[in-house]
Symmetry: C2
Subunit: 412 residues, 2 copies
C-alpha cells in the first residue's frame, strides 16, 4: 500500500499548487464604505492633494513667520489682528507685513500667512493688537497643501487588504468606489458513510459533520465565501458527481474525506478525474495532516483534506487559507494570525516535518512575552482546539523545542 509517493514540505507543496493556478483575479467594483476587509484589485493614486489648502493645526494666530523672528517674553513682536479665519470657508482677506489673523485648528490660513503662533504664546496688547512671545518657523503649526498626501502620490497598491484607516483615507480623497477582488466561492464537500448533518440524530456508528462548519469559518476569515455542498457517500460515482457539480459553481473545492485508507484512495481517484493537471501533491510533511491532496482542475484549486477535524483545520490553515487570499490577489494575508510566545514545556518532534500542537496562551508578564502551553490531544478531538487559543508551529528542521524557547503560535 504505497500511499505517499513523495511527502513534501508545506512551502514546497504550496508553491507547486500555485504554479499551476492562473494569476488572473476576477474583480468587481464596490462602494468604499462596503469595502472593509476586501482586497484592492488595482493601485490607487491620489487625484487631489490633502489637505487641498494650508491649514492650521492649532488654535492661534496665522502670521508671516519672519514677523516673529527674535520675538521673546522680554521682547515680544507686536502684530495687528486683521480678522478671524472662519471654519469651512476661505478667509476672504490676506495677511500683510506686521499682520495676523485668529485661526482655529483645521481652519484655512489666509493668503500671506505661512505659520501659526499658538494662542498660549501670545497675549492681548492694545485693541486689535497682540504680543507674540515666541518666534515660529515657516510651516510651524500648519499643514501645507499636500502634506498628508500629494496629488498623484500612491495611496494603496493592488493586492492590499483594506483596513479601517484605508477606508477613512479613501473617503478623505472622495474615492467613493473601489475595484476589489471578488470573494472566491469555495465549495465544501464532506465524504464518509458515517457522517450525518448537524440537524440529524446520529444512529449507532454515525457522527455529525464537523469539517464543513469549521472550514467554512476559516474560509470566511480569509475573505472567501464558503459554499457547503453537503455530505457525499463513500461511493466513487456519487462522490465524483457531487465534486464535479460543486466545482462548476465555485472557484475552489475542498473535499474533506473520511480518514480510512480506502476512502482516501477513492478521494484521490475522484480528484484526479476532475480535470488536468490533476493531483500535484499527495502527502505533506505535516503532523497532523500528512494524507493531503493538492490538485488543480480546469484552473481551479482542489484540496483533499484528511477527515480528522484537527488535521483538516491545520491543512486548511496551511494551504486553503493562503490560496483563498491568493485567489483575491492579496500581496500577503492580514498580519493578524500569529503571536510569538515562550514555550512552557519541552515538545518532541521529528526533523523533516512541521508539527502543529494545540496550545493555550497565558498573557504576557509586563515586559515579557505571552506563554504558550501545549494541550496534548488527538487529531480527531475537535475539543482540543476549542480549548486552545492557537497552534504552536514546530518548524520543519527542528527535532523538538525546549521549554523557554520562543515559538510561533498561529491563532485559531
Amino acid at each position: 500500500m504505497p500511499e505517499f509517493f513523495t511527502v513534501l514540505p508545506p512551502a514546497v507543496a504550496l508553491a507547486k499548487l500555485w504554479q499551476a493556478l492562473p494569476s488572473t483575479v476576477p474583480t468587481e467594483t464596490v462602494a468604499t464604505v462596503e469595502a472593509l476587509g476586501r482586497v484592492t484589485a488595482a493601485a490607487i493614486t491620489a487625484k487631489e492633494p490633502l489637505p487641498a489648502f494650508p491649514r492650521s493645526t492649532m488654535d492661534g494666530y496665522a502670521v508671516r513667520a519672519r514677523d516673529t523672528y527674535g520675538a521673546s517674553q522680554s521682547l515680544p513682536a507686536y502684530l495687528v489682528v486683521v480678522g478671524e479665519a472662519p471654519m469651512g470657508r476661505a478667509p476672504g482677506f490676506s495677511i500683510g507685513p506686521g499682520q495676523a489673523a485668529l485661526v482655529h485648528t483645521g481652519g484655512m490660513l489666509p493668503d500671506g500667512a505661512d505659520a501659526v503662533v499658538m494662542l498660549e504664546v501670545t497675549q492681548a496688547a492694545r485693541h486689535n493688537e497682540i504680543e507674540v512671545l515666541k518666534a515660529v518657523a515657516p510651516g510651524e503649526n500648519a499643514m501645507r497643501m499636500g502634506d498628508d498626501i500629494a496629488a498623484g502620490a500612491a495611496v494603496l497598491p493592488a493586492g492590499h487588504w483594506l483596513r479601517p484607516q484605508d477606508i477613512g483615507a479613501l473617503s478623505a480623497l472622495g474615492v467613493q468606489n473601489v475595484d476589489v477582488a471578488r470573494r472566491p466561492r469555495v465549495a465544501l464537500l464532506a465524504t464518509g458513510d458515517e457522517l450525518v448533518p448537524p440537524e440529524a440524530t446520529p444512529g449507532p456508528g454515525q457522527v455529525r459533520d464537523v469539517n464543513s462548519f469549521s472550514l467554512a469559518g476559516q474560509i470566511t476569515h480569509a475573505g472567501g465565501l464558503p459554499v457547503r455542498c453537503g455530505i457525499a457517500p463513500d461511493n466513487q460515482r456519487a462522490l465524483r458527481a457531487a465534486a464535479e457539480a460543486a466545482l462548476t459553481e465555485t472557484e475552489a473545492l475542498v473535499l474533506s474525506a473520511g480518514s480510512s485508507v480506502s476512502v482516501r484512495d477513492m478521494s484521490a481517484a475522484v480528484v484526479q478525474s476532475l480535470g488536468a493537471p490533476g493531483i500535484l501533491v499527495h502527502g505533506v510533511a505535516v503532523k497532523p495532516g500528512k494524507p493531503t491532496i493538492l490538485a488543480v482542475a480546469g484552473g481551479k484549486p482542489v484540496f483533499g483534506l484528511p477527515g480528522n477535524p484537527v488535521s483538516a483545520m491545520v491543512i486548511a490553515d496551511l494551504f486553503v487559507v493562503p490560496t483563498v487570499w491568493r485567489l483575491q490577489g492579496a500581496l500577503h494575508p492580514p498580519r493578524r494570525h500569529s503571536v510569538q510566545a515562550r514555550l512552557s514545556h519541552n515538545l518532541a518532534s521529528q526533523t523533516g516535518r512541521v508539527d502543529y500542537v494545540p496550545a493555550r496562551l497565558r498573557p504576557a508578564e509586563p515586559g515579557g512575552e505571552p506563554v504558550a502551553e501545549p494541550i496534548f490531544g488527538q487529531s480527531n478531538q475537535i475539543f482540543t482546539m476549542v480549548a486552545a487559543d492557537g497552534m504552536i508551529i514546530v518548524p520543519l528542521d527542528a527535532t523538538g523545542l525546549s521549554a523557554g524557547d520562543m515559538v510561533e503560535v498561529r491563532l485559531f
Copy 2:
C-alpha cells in the same frame, strides 16, 4: 481656559466609564452556522458525549487487548476474524475471546472489543485468521465514548468569541442555534463646519469627513454595527438635536468633534446635556488624543473623540473598541490585534502618558522577532496610518524606549 480638570490614565478612565454602564447584555438566538464572530450569551454544555460510541482511530483490527498480551514478531497472537465493522452503522456482532474484526478509521468498535491493532502490525495467517505481532493496551488506537467531550461537560463559557473550531464543535454536538449578544449599534456623528461628506467636492477651507468611515471600520471589527449619522454643524442646538436622535436609535454614541477649543467646549456641553450621569472623564493621558470625553447618558456610553483622524482612531482603539466588546459581554476581545516586536529606533516619550506611534513591521528573521519601525507624522495625517501596520504603544511609566527594546504593536 482650564480645559482638563483631571487627565486620567487610560485604564483608570475606562474603568470609570464601565462602572457607570449597566452589565446587562441584550441577546438573540442565531443559527450556529451564522454565529462566527459572535459572542456567546450563556455557557454551553454538551447534551451528549462525543464520540457517542467507541471508535477506531486507525485502520486495523478491533480486539480484546488481553488477547494480544505478550504478542511479538517471533511469537504472534492468533485471532479469528469474525467480521468487518461497517462505516456508519453498528457492527451487529460482537467479539469474543480469541476473536477480531476488521475496522476502519472512525468506525464503531464491536461489543467486546476494547482496542485496535494497526493493520501494519498484523499479517494474514490461515483463512479468517490473523497474526498480531505487537500487543496493544486497552483503549489503544481507539476513542472511548466521551473521550472528545463527556455528556454534561462545559463546552464554552458565556462571553466567548466564536471561532471556526467552536462552530465545528457545536455542529458536532448537534447544537443548531446559539444564544449570542446582539451586535450593538454604535452611532457615529461628526461635527465641524469645515466637514463635507465624501461625495461632495470640498470648497475652499472644507475637508471631507474621515472619522465616520475609519471609526466605522474599527466598530465593525469589534463586532458592532456602525450607524453613520452624518455631519452636524458647529452649532450647539443642532448638534444636541442630532446627538439625541442618534442615541435614541442606538446603544452607543461616538461624537467626533472638531479639534478647535471652541468646538470641543461645545461638544462637552452637548454630551453633558444628554442625560445622567453625564461626563465621567474629560481628558486622558494619551498622545495623541488627550482631549477625550467619556460619558454615560441613560445607561448608554457616549464618547467625545478628538477630530484629528489619527487621534480619533487611537482613542477609539483604547475606549470605543473595548466598550463595544463589553456591550457584547465578551470576556476578552479576540487575541488578534497585537504583536510583540523589536524597536528599530529610540522613541522619546513622557512618563505619565501613553504614546501611540505609527509603525511599519518588518518580518521576523528566522528565530527572531518582527522589527517595528516608527513612522513619524502628525496626528492629523491619516496617511501615516495608511503607511503603518500598527501603532507602537509606549507605556504610561516609560520615559522613552530604546532601539532594541521589545514593544507591543497594536495592529490597525
